[in-house]
Symmetry: C2
Subunit: 399 residues, 2 copies
C-alpha cells in the first residue's frame, strides 16, 4: 500500500476546518436569542446516501473542531494537550486532532463506515461564535455581555448546525467529559433523532468536589485584574496569570495521584539539592505545571474557559429533566447507551456512569457499561485509545 506523505495508516489525512453561519438565531436557556452564530467544524469519512451513518463527536472543555487528522494550517500547534495529554504531542506530531487515536479508517469511530462530524462548541474560541466574537450590536467583542450557556445550548447549536448539513438523524453522539454530557443531553432532549450515544469519562451531574475545582479555576481568572470584568479584548492585556492557575488546577484534576508519582516522583529540578527559592520551581512537577500553564494561555481564551466551566458545572440531568430524579430524566431515552469509565478517574469517577447505567436498566433501556482499569485519571479518555477501540467498535457494530 502506498501511503501519501501526509497520511499515516489509519489517519484521515490532512483536514481543513470549515465554517458555517447559521441562518437563524439560537434560542438560549437564559432567555436570549444569539445571532449571528458561526460554527467551525470538520468532517471525516463520507456521508451515506441515506444519511444514516453520521457520528457527532463532542469536545471537552478546552477542545475544538479539529478532532482528527493533521490540520492543514498547523504551524507547530496542536490541540492534543486539551486534557493534559501534552506529553504525547511529541510523538503525535504537530497539528494532530485531539481524538485522532479514536477517529479514522479502522479506528474506533471508523471513517470507512461512518461520517464523523466535529464542531467547535458555542462559546468557543476556535472559530465558533463565542465571547471573543464581535457583538453586532456594538461592533466590539462580546466580552462580559456574552450569554451564560448551558450544555443544552451547546446541543441546540449543534442541532441547528446539522440541519444546515441536511442531517436529521445521528447514528451516534460521542464524547468524553463535557463531550459525554452533550451526548447525554442529545439522548434526553432529542430522543427521536439519536440511535446511540457513547459517553466516556463523563457524568449526569458533576459531584461537589469537581464543582469546587471548577469554581476555583474560574475564581483564579475572575480575580486576575487583567480579566477586567470580562472585557479585556482590545486592552492589550489578557488574564494569563489567572488562566495559568486555572489550567494548573484543571491539569492536576485530570491526572491521578499515582500517575503524577510515576511521572515525576519528588525529583528535583536542578542538581541534587534544593536551591532555597519560593518563586522558582524546585521540583520537576512544579516546572511541569508552569509549562502547562504557559502553553495553555497562548492558545485559549479565558472567557471561553469560564463559559465552558460554568456549563459543565450547571449540567444536571435530574434537575433539568427529572424534577430531581435521574430515572425520570432518562425516561425519554431511546438511544442505545455505551458508558466507558476509568478506575483512576477521580474527577468523573466510575460511580457516576454506574448510576446512569443502573437508571437505564431499571427503565429497561439498552445500556452497556465498561469500567477500564487504567492509571492515568480522567486523561485516560484521551490516552487509553487501544482499550477503548474494541469496545466502541463492537458497540457501534451492534446498531
Amino acid at each position: 500500500m502506498v501511503t501519501p506523505s501526509t497520511i499515516t495508516p489509519g489517519s484521515v489525512g490532512t483536514v481543513v476546518t470549515r465554517y458555517l453561519d447559521l441562518p437563524a438565531p439560537v434560542p438560549l436557556d437564559c432567555g436570549r436569542d444569539l445571532s449571528p452564530v458561526r460554527v467551525a467544524y470538520e468532517t471525516y469519512g463520507t456521508l451515506s446516501p441515506a444519511r444514516d451513518n453520521v457520528i457527532l463527536v463532542c469536545h471537552a472543555l478546552s477542545g475544538d473542531a479539529h478532532a482528527a487528522g493533521f490540520a492543514a494550517e498547523a504551524a507547530g500547534a496542536s490541540t492534543r494537550d486539551g486534557f493534559g495529554a501534552e506529553d504525547r504531542d511529541g510523538a503525535a506530531g504537530a497539528g494532530l486532532g485531539w481524538w485522532d487515536g479514536m477517529i479514522g479508517p479502522g479506528k474506533a469511530f471508523d471513517t470507512d463506515r461512518f461520517f464523523v462530524v466535529s464542531t467547535n462548541l458555542l462559546g468557543g474560541c476556535r472559530g465558533t461564535t463565542g465571547p471573543s466574537s464581535t457583538d453586532p450590536a456594538t461592533g466590539r467583542p462580546y466580552g462580559s455581555d456574552f450569554p451564560v450557556l448551558t450544555v443544552a445550548d451547546l446541543v441546540r447549536t449543534q442541532r441547528a448546525f446539522l440541519d444546515e448539513l441536511g442531517i436529521e438523524r445521528l447514528a451516534a453522539v460521542a464524547g468524553g467529559s463535557l463531550g459525554g454530557m452533550q451526548a447525554l443531553e442529545w439522548a434526553v432532549s432529542h430522543p427521536d433523532q439519536v440511535d446511540s450515544i457513547v459517553v466516556i469519562a463523563s457524568t449526569h451531574a458533576l459531584h461537589p468536589q469537581g464543582m469546587a475545582w471548577n469554581a476555583i479555576a474560574r475564581e483564579s481568572i475572575l480575580r486576575d485584574p487583567a480579566w477586567a470584568g470580562g472585557d479585556y479584548y482590545g486592552t492589550g492585556r489578557t488574564p494569563d496569570a489567572g488562566m495559568g492557575v486555572a489550567r494548573m488546577v484543571g491539569h492536576v484534576t485530570y491526572l491521578s495521584g499515582p500517575a503524577l508519582h510515576d511521572k515525576f516522583g519528588r525529583r528535583l529540578q536542578f542538581a541534587d539539592d534544593i536551591r532555597y527559592t519560593i518563586s522558582e520551581p524546585e521540583f520537576e512537577v512544579e516546572s511541569y505545571l508552569r509549562h502547562q500553564a504557559d502553553s495553555f494561555v497562548r492558545r485559549f481564551d479565558a472567557n471561553t474557559y469560564l463559559t465552558m466551566s460554568r456549563a459543565l458545572t450547571y449540567f444536571d440531568l435530574a434537575r433539568q429533566y427529572g424534577d430531581g430524579s435521574l430515572a425520570r430524566a432518562l425516561e425519554p431515552v431511546t438511544a442505545r447507551t455505551l458508558l466507558v469509565t476509568f478506575t483512576s478517574d477521580w474527577l468523573y469517577p466510575p460511580v457516576a456512569s454506574e448510576e446512569i447505567d443502573a437508571a437505564l436498566r431499571v427503565l429497561g433501556k439498552p445500556t452497556e457499561l465498561h469500567v477500564i482499569d487504567a492509571p492515568y485519571g480522567h486523561d485516560c479518555f484521551l490516552l487509553e485509545e487501544e482499550r477503548q477501540t474494541p469496545i466502541v467498535r463492537r458497540f457501534l457494530a451492534g446498531g
Copy 2:
C-alpha cells in the same frame, strides 16, 4: 463542681500568648543566620520539678501558638479554621485554640500531667519572627528578603526557644500535618532529647500530587500583582486575590470528596433554579469557598503562607538524612513513635504513615500505627478528637 465562667470542663481556661527573644541568631539551612528572632508561645499545665513532663505541640500551615483554651485578647477571632474546620467555630466559640479538643485537663494531651508548650513557627505571622517582621538591616519588613525555610529550621528555632525555658528533654513532640513533620524532624535530628513523637495525618515526604496542590496555591499568590514580588508591606495592598485562591485550593484538599457531598451536595445558592451568572456563586459549595477565602485573607500573611508551603514541600527525611533511604534516615531515632492517620485523608494518605511504621519496625524501633476510618479527609486530625484521645492517652501513659 463550680466552673468559672471563662473555663469549661476540660479547658485550660483563658490563656495569654507570650513572647521570648532568642539570645543568639538562628542558623538556617540556607546558610544565613537569622537575628533577632522572637518566638510567640503559650504553655498549659505545670512544669514538673524534674522538667520531664514537657510536650511540644507543633502547628500546621496556618496555625499559631494559640493551641488551647480561650485567648485573653480574643475579639471574635478564632484560629480553629486552620484546616478548614471553620464550621466548628460557632460551636467552639470565639478565640478557642486550634487544638483545644486535644489539650487540657483529662484530654489527649493531659495538662493535669503534662506541661504543654506551643510556639508559633519561625516564619509565622502571629508573633514569631517572619516575613512581615522588621529587618534590622533596613528598618522595614523583610518581605522578599526573608530567608526560605526548611522544617529543620523550624525545629532548630523550637530547640533554641526551649533552651531559654530551661527545657532539655521532651516527653513528646506532637503535631498533625506540617506539625507531624516537625515531630519526625525532632526524632531524627535530636534523638537523645525526645522520648516520644505523636505524628498525626502527616508524612515523611509529601507525594507529588500534594506537591502540585501546594505549588498551585503558591503560584496563585506569586501571580497576584499586589504580592509585588513579596514586598507588599506598606504599599497599602495585599495579595488577597491570590491568597483567596490559595486558600480555596488548600481547603478542598483538606476535605474528602464524600465530605463535600454530604455537606453541600449540588444545592443551589438561591431559589430553585440557576441564575445564569459566572461571576457570582450559584451553588452552596461555591459560596462556601468564597467565604473561606475571604475570612482567611483577613487573618493570615501571604508570605508566611508561601514560606510554610515551601517548607512542607521540601520536607523529605530520606533525602535529608538517608541518602534516599527512609530506613537509613530513621536509624538514629530512639523515640517511641505513634502514627495516626485517616482513611479519607488523600492529601496525607495512610500509606505514608505505613511506610514510616514499616521502616521503624525493620529497624526494631518501637512504633504504633492507627488508621482511623473517618470520612472528613485531612481535616480529621482537627475533627476526630474523640477517637484520637484514647489512642494518644494510652500511648503517652506507656512512656
